[in-house]
C-alpha cells in the first residue's frame, strides 16, 4: 500500500476545516460567531488555493476578504439587533428538508463526478510556466482578459450606485431661496389690485 502523500493530507485538513466551518456559519445561533466561522472558511480555502499554486489569489483572499470585508461585516452584524430564539426554531424546522437535498446531491456527485477530472491527478502540479503568479496574471489581465476586466469594473461601479441609491435619502422639504425665480418676478405676481365698490357709511 502506498503511503499517503503529505500534500493529500494537507488538502484534506483544509477541505475538512472549510466544510465544517461553512456548516457552522449557517448552524450557529449567534451571528457574530457565524461571521467568525466564515473567516475560518476563507482561510481554509485560501490554503487550498495555495496548494493549487494560485498564491496570488490565496493571499488576496486573506488580505481583502479576511482583512477588510469580513471586518466591516463584523461591525455591521454587531450593530444590528437580531432575535436569537426565533432563528433557532426555524433552523430545526427546515433541517430535515435541507439535509435530504444535501444527501441527494452528495449521492449524485459521488456517482457522476468522474475521477479523471476531479482527483489529485488533475491538480496542477508543476504545470504552470515559470514566473510568479502575480506576474503571469498581470500579463494576461490587461491584454487577453481586458474585456472581462472592464466589465467587472462596471459591475463594481453598479454595486456602488445601487447601494448608495438604496441608502441615501435626499433632504426632503428643504426650504431654500431660488434667486433666479425671485429676480424674474413681476408686479402682477405679487400685488393684486382689487376694485372694491365704495361703501357708504351707514348712520
Amino acid at each position: 500500500m502506498n503511503p499517503i502523500p503529505i500534500s493529500m493530507l494537507i488538502f484534506y485538513l483544509f477541505a475538512g476545516i472549510a466544510v465544517l466551518s461553512a456548516i457552522m456559519v449557517i448552524a450557529s445561533n449567534n451571528p457574530v460567531r457565524g461571521v467568525l466561522f466564515l473567516v475560518v472558511t476563507f482561510i481554509a480555502s485560501s490554503g487550498m488555493w495555495m496548494m493549487a499554486q494560485a498564491e496570488f489569489l490565496s493571499l488576496i483572499l486573506v488580505l481583502v476578504y479576511v482583512g477588510a470585508v469580513m471586518t466591516l461585516f463584523l461591525f455591521v452584524v454587531m450593530m444590528i439587533n437580531i432575535e436569537l430564539t426565533s432563528q433557532k426554531r426555524k433552523f430545526s424546522y427546515y433541517l430535515p428538508f435541507g439535509a435530504g437535498i444535501i444527501l441527494l446531491l452528495v449521492l449524485m456527485m459521488l456517482i457522476a463526478l468522474h475521477p479523471q477530472y476531479f482527483s489529485f491527478g488533475s491538480m496542477p502540479s508543476g504545470v504552470l510556466p515559470k514566473g510568479a503568479n502575480t506576474e503571469l496574471l498581470g500579463k494576461v489581465l490587461y491584454t487577453n482578459y481586458a474585456y472581462p476586466f472592464i466589465v467587472a469594473g462596471v459591475l463594481l461601479l453598479t454595486a456602488i450606485i445601487a447601494a448608495i441609491s438604496l441608502v441615501h435619502r435626499r433632504p426632503r422639504d428643504c426650504k431654500s431661496q431660488q434667486v433666479t425665480e425671485q429676480i424674474k418676478t413681476r408686479r402682477e405676481l405679487r400685488v393684486r389690485i382689487v376694485n372694491l365698490p365704495s361703501e357708504k357709511k351707514e348712520d
Binding site: 487577453n144 466589465v151 441609491s165
Partner: protein, 478 residues
C-alpha cells in the same frame, strides 16, 4: 503570449452605452432636480445603441477580445430588441416614477442592467456570461427596492435578491464543472473538448447540465424555478415590473442559446429532455394558477411563466427552425409584456394602483381607445389570430410537431385554451361590467401614444409578420 489587438468595432454599441450611462450618471449628479434631462439622455443612449446595432447588422460572424465577445446576427438582433424594449419601459416609467418619488437612479440602474444584457447576449465565454448576468441582475434587485417607503417592494427585492443569488450560485457550480471537464472557458472550445470525450463520461456533463439548466430556469422564471416571479412582479413598483418582465427575458434566452447551442450541442438529447419537463410544468402551472388570480400583476406573472413554457417548446426542438421560433416568441412576448404592465402604469395615478382586475371594470365606457388597446394586448397574449401572438404560438407548435412530439403540441394547445379563459375574462370585465371608479383617466399624451404604438404593433406584426420572421431566420443562418 499571443495577444491580438481586439476589434473595437464589434463592441461599439456596448462602448457607446457605457459612455452614455456614465454621462447620465454625471448629469444626474450635477443637475440634481432636472428629471427630464436625465430621462432624455437615457433615451438617447438606448436609441443610439439600438441604431448602432441596426447599422452593424449583417451576416458576418467573428469573435474578438481574445474570444470573449462574438459579433453575429443573433447578438445584434437580441441587442436591438433589448434596447427598444428598455426604451419603451422608460417611457412608461417617466410619469410613474415622478409621481411616486422614485429617484432618478431608476434610469441609471436600468441603463446598467441593459448593458449587462448586451454583454450577456454577445458573450462567447463562461466568464462573460456570468459577468453579464450579474451586471443584469444586480441593478434589477436595487430597482425593485427603489420605492423606499413601500414595504411590499422591499420584501419583493429581498426575495428577488436571495433567489437570484441562489440561481447564480447554481449556474456557477455547473459552469465550474464544465470548466473542470473541458479545461476551457471559451464556449466553442468547450464544445470541441466535449466532442473528443468518451461517451460514458457524459455523466459528468449531465450533472453539470442540471445545474446550468436550474440557473437558466431561475432567470427565465420557468417552473419549477418560478416561485419568485409572482411575488416580485406584484411587489415591485409597476414601472420596474414593466422593465424586469420584458427585456431581461430576451437576454435570458440569449444566454440559453449561447450556453446550450454554442457550448453543449453534443448533449442535445440530454438538455432536450430536461427542457421538456421545464416546459410542461411551466405551461401547466402558469396557465392553471393564473385563473385564480384577482390581481392583474400577479396574473400576468403566471402568464409570463406559461409563455416561457411555450418559448421553451421552440428551444427544445433542437434545430434551427425551432430556435428561430423561440427567438420570435420571446421578442413578441417582450412587446406584449411591456405593454401589459404599461397599461397598468397608465391607469394608475398617485396613491392608486390599478393592479386589480376589478379596476378595469367598464374601461370601455370610461375610455374606449385604451380598452381597445388592452383588448389587443390580451388577445395577443391568448394567441387569437389577427394578432402576432397567434403566429408566435403557431411557430413553436410547428417546431414541436416537426420533431415528432405531437403529444406535446396537443398538450400545449389544450392548455392554451385554458389560458384563453383568464385573458378573455379581463376583456369581459372591460366591456360588459359597469364602471366602478368614476374618476376620469388622466394620462400624459406621450404615454398614451406609446401604448397605442405598442398595442397596434402587435396587430400590424400579426398581419405582416414576414419581416420579423425573416430576421429571426437570418439570426440562425436559415
Amino acid at each position: 503570449m499571443n495577444f491580438q489587438f481586439p476589434h473595437f468595432s464589434a463592441a461599439l454599441p456596448e462602448i457607446f452605452l457605457l459612455s452614455m450611462t456614465c454621462l447620465v450618471l454625471l448629469t444626474e449628479l450635477f443637475m440634481k432636480y432636472s428629471r427630464s434631462v436625465v430621462y432624455v439622455l437615457s433615451q438617447v443612449a438606448l436609441l443610439g445603441t439600438a441604431i448602432l446595432f441596426i447599422l452593424g447588422f449583417n451576416n458576418i460572424s467573428y469573435t474578438t477580445f481574445n474570444g470573449h465577445l462574438i459579433f453575429d446576427a443573433l447578438g445584434s438582433l437580441l441587442g436591438i430588441f433589448i434596447c427598444i424594449i428598455a426604451c419603451i419601459a422608460f417611457i412608461y416609467a417617466k410619469h410613474y416614477t415622478r409621481d411616486r418619488n422614485i429617484p432618478n437612479e431608476y434610469y441609471i440602474l436600468g441603463l446598467f442592467s441593459t448593458l449587462g444584457m448586451l454583454v450577456m447576449v454577445t458573450a462567447q465565454s463562461f466568464l462573460m456570461i456570468y459577468l453579464g448576468l450579474e451586471l443584469l441582475s444586480l441593478p434589477l434587485y436595487a430597482m425593485v427596492a427603489l420605492q423606499k417607503d413601500s414595504p411590499t417592494a422591499t420584501e419583493a427585492a429581498m426575495k428577488y435578491f436571495v433567489m437570484g443569488a441562489i440561481a447564480s450560485g447554481m449556474l456557477l457550480y455547473g459552469l465550474s464543472l464544465l470548466y473542470g471537464v473541458s479545461g476551457s472557458l471559451n464556449l466553442p472550445a468547450v464544445a470541441s473538448a466535449i466532442t473528443t470525450m468518451p461517451e460514458k463520461q457524459h455523466l459528468v456533463l449531465v450533472f453539470a447540465l442540471v445545474f446550468v439548466i436550474a440557473g437558466l430556469g431561475f432567470k427565465l422564471a420557468a417552473a419549477p424555478f418560478h416561485m419568485w416571479a409572482p411575488d416580485v412582479y406584484t411587489g415591485a413598483p409597476t414601472a420596474v415590473t414593466a422593465f424586469l418582465a420584458s427585456a431581461p427575458k430576451i437576454a435570458a434566452l440569449g444566454m440559453a442559446f449561447r450556453l446550450l447551442i454554442t457550448a453543449l450541442p453534443q448533449i442535445v438529447s440530454q438538455w432536450h429532455e430536461l427542457l421538456i419537463i421545464l416546459s410542461v410544468l411551466s405551461i401547466t402551472i402558469g396557465n392553471v394558477i393564473a385563473i385564480a388570480q384577482s390581481n392583474l400583476k400577479r396574473m400576468l406573472a403566471y402568464s409570463a411563466i406559461a409563455h416561457i413554457g411555450y418559448m421553451l417548446l421552440g428551444l427544445l426542438s433542437g434545430n434551427a427552425q425551432g430556435y428561430s421560433a423561440a427567438l420570435f416568441y420571446i421578442l413578441v412576448y417582450s412587446i406584449m409584456s411591456v405593454g401589459g404592465f404599461g397599461m397598468i402604469v397608465l391607469l394608475s395615478r398617485r396613491g392608486f394602483e390599478a393592479e386589480n382586475i376589478e379596476d378595469f371594470k367598464g374601461l370601455n365606457s370610461r375610455n374606449p381607445w385604451l380598452a381597445f388597446m388592452m383588448m389587443l394586448l390580451m388577445l395577443s397574449m391568448a394567441g387569437v389570430p389577427p394578432t402576432v401572438g397567434f403566429f408566435a404560438k403557431l411557430l413553436v407548435l410547428k417546431a414541436v410537431v416537426q420533431t415528432q412530439m405531437v403529444w406535446l403540441a396537443v398538450f400545449a394547445v389544450l392548455l392554451a385554451i385554458v389560458g384563453a379563459f383568464y385573458y378573455l375574462r379581463v376583456i369581459k370585465t372591460m366591456y360588459f361590467d359597469a364602471p366602478g371608479d368614476p374618476t376620469p383617466i388622466a394620462c400624459a399624451s406621450d404615454t398614451r401614444l406609446m401604448i397605442s404604438i405598442n398595442s397596434l404593433a402587435l396587430l400590424v406584426l400579426g398581419i405582416f409578420p414576414g419581416a420579423l420572421l425573416e430576421v429571426c431566420r437570418v439570426a440562425f443562418g436559415l
